[in-house]
């Protein structure tokens, strides 16, 4: 934008911008999480994606005023939008995201944030070229703007008109840039830029937040008020974030969909320091598809007390001084972090930059049809599963943000990688989407997991796994092994020594894993539990991982080299009676 952005009929000093808040606003479109049991209103016959999509759309689509307005402007653009000396678009899509979000935060027993925001944004993609090579490159990957919040088709069509015009002009330049970049490389890209997909019409129910703020605010204040129970707790805060997203999507291949999802989350955060200054923290979270799936106030108070106790125990726990290399047992909670990060992150079929001949980004890019896990383990991604073990799975969905239906997909079978998760951007040897083109409101779709499930062919109970751990350590002449209860990132947060002599457990602090990576998964995973845990995760898009406990036969633990922080210069204020 030109200097116009700068001043509001006002003088501005050196480079000051007023669009800050809108940027903040658009930044809020980091999607939360939340499954919505989306029922299909109607399934239209799939049309050939090559055909122009000006035919009549289903009654369900026509009855939704937003989809109707989007479809009308889309059709007008497709049939009329053309610049001299520039090819007409061969594909156009609109996505309108309606986001309703409530968030509140309390610290030390007092509320300090309490807000509800309802906004809409739209994302427009215009592609020129053809499925083999098109303009989806650089700025050509989508134009995003804030959208009318009223159900007003006139205002919406005005916004769409301008956005489409802009996206078309950008696309023509983007295609030229892309061709210029590609001309540097001799080899042709052996796959299309854009995968074909069948037309699909589906109007799911509009999802709405359903909760009462007052009890949640009270809960936040009550749980954070527990700071009084421990003078060494430096910080105790809690927040809730409840978000409902409804996506409206139309494209020129004849797809029209409306899909929604809801996520309710509550997050605790506590910080303390050991006497030597080591910073210790805990940040448990609870995520579900409805307010009732979150723990009750009573349960949360108990959980918070437990968390504070664990921090006290950590403060008093001995530092890990000596290196260890041997068997380590991961709880199902800890294992779900590994499943998410190390497997979930690497099975995505993300196309590398032009000129990079790898199949995909990520560590499994050269492992297609190769072994990535022990043969007793398989992994499936099944977004069609709505619940497991009585819990809603927030990673559930029926149709992705590119209008492609998803199905259950085995990804790793008996240790062998047989699939990558894909959107409509093909990679080498994978020409079609498998419905994993997911996007947060306003963002470009990108391959992502839905409900990722680790499935052992044989398993043992957690007790048996612990016995096995002890047995292995005994055989190696070790006095103890390790049990990781929770992680933060790839490192332990609650780590226990399990003593061979009498099986007792001792909490330790200051430990990190060394070389815990995909090779460890392939070579050192020897057993899994029969205790799968549902771990709902609120990220840019909502996901779920389900994993049992896992046992490594060899993994290294050593002392962290992170420096200890200074303790506070002076003690906190004494708590005055109310």
């Amino acid at each position: 934008m030109s200097a116009f952005v700068r001043a509001s009929a006002v003088t501005a000093g050196p480079s000051r911008r007023f669009a800050i808040t809108v940027a903040l606003l658009l930044a809020l479109f980091l999607a939360g999480t939340g499954p919505a049991a989306v029922a299909q209103a109607q399934q239209a016959q799939p049309k050939s994606s090559a055909a122009a999509a000006t035919g009549a759309s289903s009654a369900a689509v026509q009855s939704d005023p937003l989809l109707k307005a989007m479809r009308e402007e889309l059709d007008r653009s497709k049939s009329q939008l053309k610049m001299d000396n520039v090819p007409a678009p061969y594909y156009v899509e609109y996505r309108l995201s309606d986001v309703d979000e409530y968030s509140a935060e309390a610290v030390f027993g007092a509320l300090r944030q309490d807000q509800r925001i309802h906004v809409r944004n739209l994302r427009v993609v215009v592609r020129v070229g053809d499925y083999k090579q098109d303009s989806y490159y650089g700025p050509g990957t989508g134009f995003v703007n804030i959208a009318p919040r009223d159900d007003d088709s006139v205002a919406l069509r005005r916004e769409l008109w301008l956005a489409t015009d802009r996206a078309y002009k950008i696309a023509s330049e983007a295609l030229a840039s892309k061709k210029a970049v590609l001309s540097q490389y001799t080899a042709d890209q052996p796959f299309n830029d854009f995968a074909r997909a069948p037309a699909l019409e589906s109007v799911g129910p509009f999802v709405k937040l359903d909760f009462t703020p007052a009890p949640w605010k009270e809960t936040l204040e009550k749980v954070t008020d527990l700071y009084r129970t421990d003078a060494k707790i430096q910080s105790l805060s809690a927040y809730v974030r409840f978000r409902a997203v409804n996506d409206y999507f139309v494209n020129t291949e004849g797809t029209s969909t409306r899909q929604g999802y809801i996520v309710y989350s509550l997050n605790l955060s506590a910080e303390t320091q050991a006497d030597d200054g080591m910073e210790l923290g805990r940040s448990p979270f609870y995520v579900g598809a409805s307010a009732s799936e979150l723990p009750s106030q009573e349960k949360l108070l108990a959980e918070t007390a437990k968390m504070l106790q664990s921090l006290k125990d950590l403060r008093e726990a001995p530092m890990v001084e000596e290196d260890y290399r041997g068997p380590i047992l991961f709880s199902n909670d800890a294992a779900s972090d590994i499943l998410d990060g190390m497997i979930g992150g690497n099975i995505l079929g993300i196309r590398p930059k032009p000129g990079d001949s790898a199949r995909t980004t990520g560590e499994f890019s050269s492992n297609y049809k190769g072994r990535v896990l022990p043969t007793f383990l398989s992994v499936v991604d099944d977004p069609t599963m709505k619940s497991f073990d009585g819990k809603s799975l927030i990673g559930s969905y029926q149709i992705d943000q590119e209008g492609v239906r998803v199905a259950s997909l085995p990804v790793i079978k008996d240790g062998i990688l047989i699939e990558y998760l894909l959107g409509r951007m093909p990679i080498r040897d994978f020409a079609d989407s498998n419905g994993h083109g997911r996007a947060a409101p306003g963002q470009s779709p990108s391959p992502n997991i839905g409900n990722l499930i680790l499935q052992p062919k044989e398993s043992s109970s957690p007790d048996e796994l612990k016995k096995k751990l002890i047995e292995m350590c005994k055989q190696e002449g070790k006095p103890y092994g390790y049990y990781a209860e929770t992680l933060v990132g790839n490192n332990p947060r609650l780590l226990y020594r399990v003593y061979v002599s009498d099986s007792h457990e001792e909490l330790v602090r200051g430990a990190v894993f060394n070389e815990l990576d995909t090779r460890t998964l392939r070579n050192n995973l020897v057993a899994a539990g029969n205790d799968p845990l549902v771990s709902n995760r609120e990220g840019a898009v909502p996901t779920t991982v389900i994993s049992p406990s896992i046992l490594f036969d060899e993994l290294e633990v050593k002392r962290t080299d992170k420096k200890n922080a200074k303790l506070p210069e002076y003690p906190p204020p004494t708590i005055a009676a109310h």
């Binding site: 030109s2 200097a3 116009f4 952005v5 700068r6 001043a7 509001s8 009929a9 006002v10 003088t11 501005a12 000093g13 050196p14 007023f18 808040t21 809108v22 940027a23 903040l24 658009l26 009308e72 402007e73 007008r76 049939s79 009329q80 610049m83 309390a106 610290v107 030390f108 027993g109 007092a110 509320l111 300090r112 944030q113 309490d114 807000q115 925001i117 906004v119 990957t141 134009f143 995003v144 804030i146 009318p148 919040r149 009223d150 006139v154 205002a155 069509r157 005005r158 008109w161 301008l162 015009d165 950008i170 703020p213 200074k566 210069e569 002076y570 906190p572 204020p573 708590i575 005055a576």
Partner: protein, 581 residues
């Protein structure tokens, strides 16, 4: 991916508050917050005195804000929210007044911010203040050690003034309750209706109507004993519309209205008339010829002159700039010299509440460092006398004159309040135009340029950039010597170096026009006003505005296919069938 951010003025993080506002409106609460701040500040001062290096000054500044923002476009609301927020800024100086952690580039080390509980829970408030203070001490003490080291090795600075001035503590509690919040739904209705007024103009591509009202209360407690509670209130309505000329030049018109309360903003009828005027102006601008580069006589309306002075002179009077080694320091060495024609004087007076019946947005009683606001005569009969001072001393000016201002979260610096330009060489406004035409003829130019309204500009005062300023005109007319009617032109930018251009003013009108707005600079956004008479320049230099390269939209807006206001790119294809609107 390309993001286009529509332009919104003055939005903080906003939301619909379900929190009861009684906590923020009643007087006893105000005292509880201040008392808690003072007690915790005292405890912190005592405890940190034992450290090395120790702070010599600390302050807690808390701002309660109750803000409502609503925006609409094309007849639909696009944003609507209210938020209550209590922000705390802990400011600390470590070292001594001669040299402390805020010296030079390290100024930001002087502040740490966070959100406070919204209620009267003194324990929770005190505990968050403690967290912030501890963090700030860590930051400030580390910065001070760096400053000490840098100071020893860097070449001697030109200005060796201390880093902090000596000021008397102030004690003033203005406990007026915060206004109850605005009715969001009413404003949604008003902005919706107003914004719909643009729909009938297909040449207006983008438009917004936004309403923003905030009421705040600021608390200040310092280790020197200052205790202040100050209320603030501002209501602002902005109408903005954009289009593009056929050659791709971006054209924009903005009208803003500002007052202390929403009821003082113009009526719906007046605003609707503005919408029509803005649309008409944009249509005329689209059709107007693009201006050529030009140097010659020019006349500025009072409002245009006010913005001109705010940019060209006002920012250069800000105290801290005189000392910053990276700044251009245009006026630093010109104290007691002529910097303007001798008939012009410039004062900045935050104590003024209104001028000629218009409220002044830059009015305040105490600045953000707790120093009483003062009228500063910066230029007297053309001679530079003074700067706009915060508590940062500069050479020959060792004390604050109550111009230390900031937005929450940032360190204060010297800023403008109400910049008032007065003239002793005046004629009636109507006569100024005659004198203007006479000057055009005298110089043998075919025309002069009249600047009716401007959008605001930006100033590059840094040493690394040329001493250029740009005041961005919106409605500019060629005024012909031969009596032809005035002709609107588009794409004009005023350029030049400040010293030269100011000295080209030869005559002014006799009525001050007021311009209210929000000014942004290093210490953030603050409300300001500027007032000036219309002015005649013997020479102003203009350049052609940098144009966007994107041409107008290819298709007409939905619903305007038959009128085809914008000629379609490919005329042969206009008859293609499409869905009806």
């Amino acid at each position: 991916m390309q993001k286009r951010f529509p332009w919104f003025p003055v939005f903080a993080v906003l939301a619909l508050a379900t929190f009861p506002l009684s906590a923020l409106t009643s007087s006893p609460t105000a005292n509880i917050v201040l008392t808690t701040m003072q007690q915790e500040l005292q405890r912190a001062t005592k405890a940190l005195a034992k450290t090395d290096p120790a702070p010599y000054y600390m302050s807690y500044a808390v701002t309660d804000t109750d803000e409502t923002a609503v925006a609409a476009s094309n007849g639909s609301v696009i944003y609507s929210a209210s938020v209550d927020r209590r922000q705390a800024d802990v400011m600390m100086r470590v070292g001594s007044v001669a040299l402390d952690n805020t010296h030079s580039q390290s100024r930001a080390s002087g502040i740490t911010s966070g959100l406070l509980p919204l209620n009267d829970d003194t324990n929770a408030i005190a505990r968050v203040l403690w967290q912030l203070t501890d963090r700030e001490y860590e930051q400030a003490s580390a910065a001070y050690l760096k400053v000490k080291t840098n100071n020893a090795v860097r070449s001697e600075e030109e200005d060796k003034s201390p880093d902090f001035s000596s000021e008397a503590p102030q004690d003033h509690l203005n406990l007026v309750p915060l206004r109850p919040p605005s009715d969001q739904q009413i404003w949604e209705g008003r902005t919706r209706k107003l914004s719909a007024g643009f729909l009938k103009y297909p040449e207006v591509y983008t438009s917004y109507v936004s309403f923003n009202i905030s009421a705040d209360r600021s608390y200040l407690a310092t280790s020197e004993g200052t205790a202040l509670i100050r209320p603030g209130a501002i209501a602002r309505l902005v109408i903005q519309a954009e289009t593009r000329a056929d050659d791709g030049m971006e054209l924009m018109r903005v009208e803003s209205f500002q007052a202390a309360t929403a009821s003082q903003l113009p009526s719906d009828a007046e605003l609707a008339a503005k919408v029509d005027k803005i649309a008409a102006d944009l249509k005329a601008l689209r059709a107007a010829p693009a201006a050529d580069p030009y140097a010659g006589p020019a006349m500025l309306s009072g409002r245009a002159a006010a913005v001109f002075f705010h940019e060209v002179l006002g920012h250069r009077l800000e105290g801290h700039r005189q000392r910053d080694e990276n700044e251009g320091q245009t006026f630093t060495k010109k104290v007691n010299q002529l910097v303007l024609p001798a008939f012009l004087s410039v004062a900045d007076d935050p104590t003024m509440k209104e001028l000629n019946g218009v409220q002044l947005a830059g009015h305040y009683d105490f600045d953000d460092e707790g120093v009483p606001a003062a009228r500063v005569v910066a230029v007297e009969n053309g001679v530079l006398k003074n700067f706009l001072m915060s508590r940062m001393p500069i050479k020959n000016f060792s004390t604050s004159n109550g111009h230390g201002r900031r937005q929450p979260g940032l360190m204060p610096t010297g800023r403008q309040g109400n910049l008032i330009v007065t003239s002793s060489n005046t004629v009636k406004d109507s006569e100024l135009r005659e004198r203007f035409i006479a000057e055009i003829k005298k110089q043998g130019k075919p025309y002069g340029l009249y600047f009716d309204d401007i959008q605001g500009g930006f100033t590059l005062t840094g040493r690394a950039s040329p001493q250029a300023f740009q005041v961005i005109p919106v409605m500019v007319y060629r005024v012909y010597a031969d009596g032809r009617p005035d002709e609107l032109v588009r794409g004009v930018d005023i350029v030049g170096t400040p010293l030269l251009s100011l000295n080209n003013i030869v005559l002014t009108g006799d009525t001050l026009q007021v311009f209210n707005g929000i000014c942004g600079a290093e210490s953030g956004q603050v409300p300001v006003a500027a007032a000036a008479p219309s002015m005649l320049f013997t020479e102003i230099e203009v350049q052609k505005r940098r144009r966007g390269s994107e041409r107008p939209p290819i298709l007409p807006p939905p619903g305007f296919e038959s009128t085809a206001a914008t000629p379609p790119a490919n005329a042969a294809k206009t008859a293609a069938p499409g869905a009806k609107p």
